[in-house]
Symmetry: C2
Subunit: 598 residues, 2 copies
């Protein structure tokens, strides 16, 4: 199917929007009237710019408050329409969106509405233009798609059809099945938007909270299925009003937008991109650091051993059980300080995983490696984290570890940490929903519920994506509104142990600093649960936090922060699904008290 | 009445919150459990800190999901409660909030609820503690204040009373009149919050959008009236969950919060602060600039003349009709570049206006002036703009102009600009609602509706405050979420003329640069209104924008921006109430294209 996007969905001046849409790979655009009015380009120049960019102009929108009004008012409306039709000729666009009237002058008279729309269509036809009539969810008298269609049917003019908008249909709770009763050739246009499920005024919901398909709670794919079965063959066009996207850079938003349409088309069976290859584990986490000492000290205290060194790059491999941490002191580190730069994902088919990612517009990372290095297929996640698809010591696949030269080392602690439990990645503030969609669609992970966490200085949101057996867990987090000082919010690596108390003690005894937790927290634990005094005293001493859900318990504690990274030690009962989110405010408050080591 | 604030209403660590509340002048606080849990201070230390700061601890909150549950669960709840009562003794607080249960285990059985609450109260009494039971708007079986009161009445225990919360009552649409039927001594606590009127899920509404009384749409004062008539004599306590306040600095938020309670008490007749003195005009706008030339050139081209110079400061007075602009090249200018620093408000009683402002916690500005200068009463608005209460050439009052020495000058243009129509002040992103409350309560201005304006790079909001005859109009604006580059969003001074075309032409002919407006805008004007081609051509040539409401028309155009300031020329029909907001997207897009002069 052809793909299109309404200019209102992207930030910036009209030309920025067009460039972003074209670069992302859209076939066409809907030109939103306000974007045209504000543009210094003439309609002819806009047309030429679109042609240069390889974009068709699929729709001009909107015309409002046209139909079912008193006749003198309708006369003025026709005059206004004629002006706009002339403009559309200059733009080279042949379809106009007419929204059902919200005017207080409009009367509840379907016959009059049909008569007026027929008159409008006659005029449009003279200009070679088609009118697509759409029910706004808050239309004064016409607010459902089937009602709009009945009026179009009654008007019975070849230049008049209907426009369907997934938001207006699904927000009203209409059954989209009836779409199949509309002849496909009378569906002139299809606009797609998702939205989080919220109980709120539908106009405000629509104007501020729309999002791209797959980012919200509507069954947009189901609706598209009905539209396809009706015989629609026009573009799939995104029309998203969203306060955040209005501010975010147009380029990345356009890519996210097109990805959502690609995923949508796959789910409806319209396309068959390479199948997702779900990762089966976390092969490694890669830290970059300008100063190897502080991180090495923490890793050593945690029981890791430096077991190997990369043959051609300044990268060390630290290992304990199946937990592997790469320590990279290359050039990137000197720029940004200590941070989590990349994740190695165990993949049964690394090349296939990369093909999947590439087909869904994930930027493929340049492979700056020596000729003798093993192939590493890597893409960038929306937050810039590198995702490496790889295999560790499996006979059928080359192992990424073969790029590393073993070094003499003491054995790592054998009964301590056995793998990476999860990674917590901080997302750019405007890409929280996109990040979940990316990890779901590109990696085939499942997304859990989003939770709010009260940091002392603002509200955070967190949402985890996991594979079925929990061997890959990534917690995506986003800070409060983007103030300047929040760029550096820390990421973390959570390490799994079967005996948290021993692991934490060993870390501390080896010189590691555990994050101290408020004594008041333990009084609350005593009120909530029946711990022995000894247990509580041990938890307090080590800063261990506790949570429990229906299926099990979760114990966890934290190291101090180095640069933008810290470590968590976790002991997770098999059934426990969460990440101790209810303890996060206490942890965050404690971290605000301690300054990062450097 | 004593004033109090829940710690959850303020940003930061517990000690920051306490300090901010005390500095603002609150008498007490409610300690929110999570703030205590996260604090490194012990309960005894918190108690001592509050005592040092002169704050009482009025409430500990909350206890949840206590009542009407199976008996083994209730046993655990009592155990938990006993822990918390011990904690409260250490804190030195004698009232605890118990919210109506949201637990899925709770049953719909008022008698059982009353029985459990009585048991809880008996236990509390042993600790010298009172239990205040409150209906959450989303409580599972108890969600209205009268229902909660019936249960309290049935439980009939001296240590059990009710807590009223204006949000829970007004968000449910309950009639607060029934509050008067509750004996005053059984109302143990009163929590106050306002909220914008929104149709949305009440839990989300409450958790994210509460605001201080007077900032939202509820009749909080009316509710407080009922509570007073019931005989309540406890504190008025603010409990506001707000995503923005969670991030904003605690100090200013606490001052805003207390101001809202002072205004509330006045409106209920509980206090009589100095009456508001409504300004009767704009005496001057004061620009600071590091380089006098660019602004002088624009003022000259606009027809202003430099008529006087301050006797002791580097400040020039420029005048045209009743429009006066001060140009200040003092030290502040070199720090921040060209900007709008202060507004002179014509006041029938400048000293009285300042007393009013001071009584409502407006920071009084230091008067760095020479001994011979006229007294200038000045306070700072929430955005930092200086507000000077003054008189211009009125016999009964000293005139601020007497500090100025006339200089030889050409006459200003006599038939051009005659006064300042309005000022547009950019507000800090987190103080939009506060700014409107400040201008209403401190200055006695009326607030118009808030409007959304689509800037190409994000959504802006704007809200005007005016006096009755429109001689003082201030448009308060706020940008989209706070990204780093938006500190410098421009303010502007709108100048009134009776003949915009002549004034704009004269400005251009004198070398001024008018902001060019997209030609497409004029095509749209032609579609909407019946202008002659000549008129439209003139508007296009001069960049004049047009708007119309039921009572009149509005024509306006803009100069280019200097630093953070630009000028608008406006011709306003008497009846027109707006500011051309619907043209703002076109103007903003044009301004993004032009770079500021310096």
């Amino acid at each position: 199917m052809r793909t299109s996007i309404a200019t209102v969905s992207l930030s910036g001046a009209l030309t920025e929007k067009l460039t972003a849409a074209a670069r992302a790979g859209f076939d066409g655009v809907e030109i939103f009237e306000n974007d045209l009015l504000a543009s210094p380009l003439s309609p002819e120049e806009i047309r030429a710019r679109c042609a240069d960019l390889g974009l068709s102009i699929d729709l001009y929108q909107p015309m409002r408050d046209i139909e079912a009004v008193p006749s003198d008012e309708f006369g003025r409306n026709l005059r206004r329409a004629e002006h706009k039709f002339r403009l559309m000729r200059r733009l080279g666009v042949d379809t106009v969106l007419v929204c059902s009237s919200v005017s207080p002058l409009a009367v509840d008279d379907d016959a009059l509405a049909a008569f007026h729309l027929r008159r409008l269509a006659e005029l449009a036809q003279d200009f070679g233009i088609r009118v697509a009539y759409e029910a706004l969810a808050w239309g004064r008298h016409v607010s459902t798609y089937d009602h709009a269609w009945r009026i179009v049917e009654a008007a019975d003019h070849p230049a008049l059809g209907t426009c369907l908008d997934s938001f207006h249909i699904l927000a009203r709770g209409s059954d989209p099945k009836g779409i199949e009763d509309i002849p496909g050739e009378k569906i002139f246009f299809l606009q797609l938007a998702d939205a989080p499920l919220m109980a709120m005024d539908v106009l405000q919901w629509s104007r501020h909270y729309r999002c791209f398909p797959g980012q919200g709670g509507f069954d947009v794919a189901g609706l598209v299925g009905h539209v396809m079965r009706a015989g629609y063959r026009g573009p799939l066009s995104l029309e998203v009003f969203n306060d955040v996207f209005r501010q975010a850079e147009a380029g990345p938003t356009a890519v996210d937008a097109l990805r959502s349409l690609l995923v949508l088309q796959e789910s409806v069976g319209l396309t068959e991109p390479p199948a997702p290859v779900v990762p089966t584990g976390i092969a490694f986490a890669e830290l970059v650091t300008p100063d190897v000492e502080p991180v090495s000290e923490v890793l050593e205290a945690l029981g890791f051993a430096r077991t190997a060194r990369h043959r051609s790059k300044p990268v060390d491999l630290w290992q304990q059980g199946e937990a592997r941490v790469l320590l990279n002191t290359g050039p990137a580190a000197r720029r940004d300080g200590t941070g989590l730069a990349a994740v190695g994902l165990e993949s049964p088919d690394p090349a296939g995983a990369a093909r999947r990612a590439e087909s869904l517009l994930a930027p493929v990372l340049p492979r700056r490696r020596a000729p003798e290095d093993a192939p590493l297929d890597a893409v960038a996640a929306p937050d810039g984290t590198g995702l490496f698809f790889c295999a560790t010591d499996r006979p059928e696949l080359p192992s990424w570890t073969s790029d590393f030269e073993p070094v003499a080392h003491k054995s790592p602690t054998s009964d301590g940490i056995y793998r990476i439990d999860h990674l917590a990645l901080t997302q750019p503030w405007h890409q929280f929903d996109e990040a979940a969609l990316f990890h779901r669609s590109v990696l085939g992970l499942g997304a859990q519920e989003s939770v709010d966490v009260a940091d002392p200085y603002g509200l955070l949101r967190s949402r985890a994506v996991t594979n079925a057996d929990g061997s890959v867990r990534i917690a995506l987090g986003v800070g409060p509104a983007p103030t300047a000082d929040q760029g550096g919010r820390a990421q973390h690596i959570a390490l799994a142990t079967d005996d948290l108390v021993t692991a934490a003690r060993r870390f501390r005894d080896a010189g590691g600093c555990l994050l101290p937790i408020s004594a008041n927290y333990y009084d609350d634990l005593a009120a909530k649960y029946e711990f022995t005094d000894d247990e509580l005293e041990t938890y307090r001493e080590l800063g261990i936090l506790y949570d429990r859900d229906a299926d099990g318990a979760f114990r966890h504690c934290y190291t101090e922060t180095i640069g933008r990274v810290f470590f968590e030690l976790v002991q997770r009962d098999a059934g426990y699904r969460g990440y101790g989110a209810q303890n996060a405010p206490v942890r965050l408050a404690a971290q605000h008290i301690r300054r990062p080591v450097h």
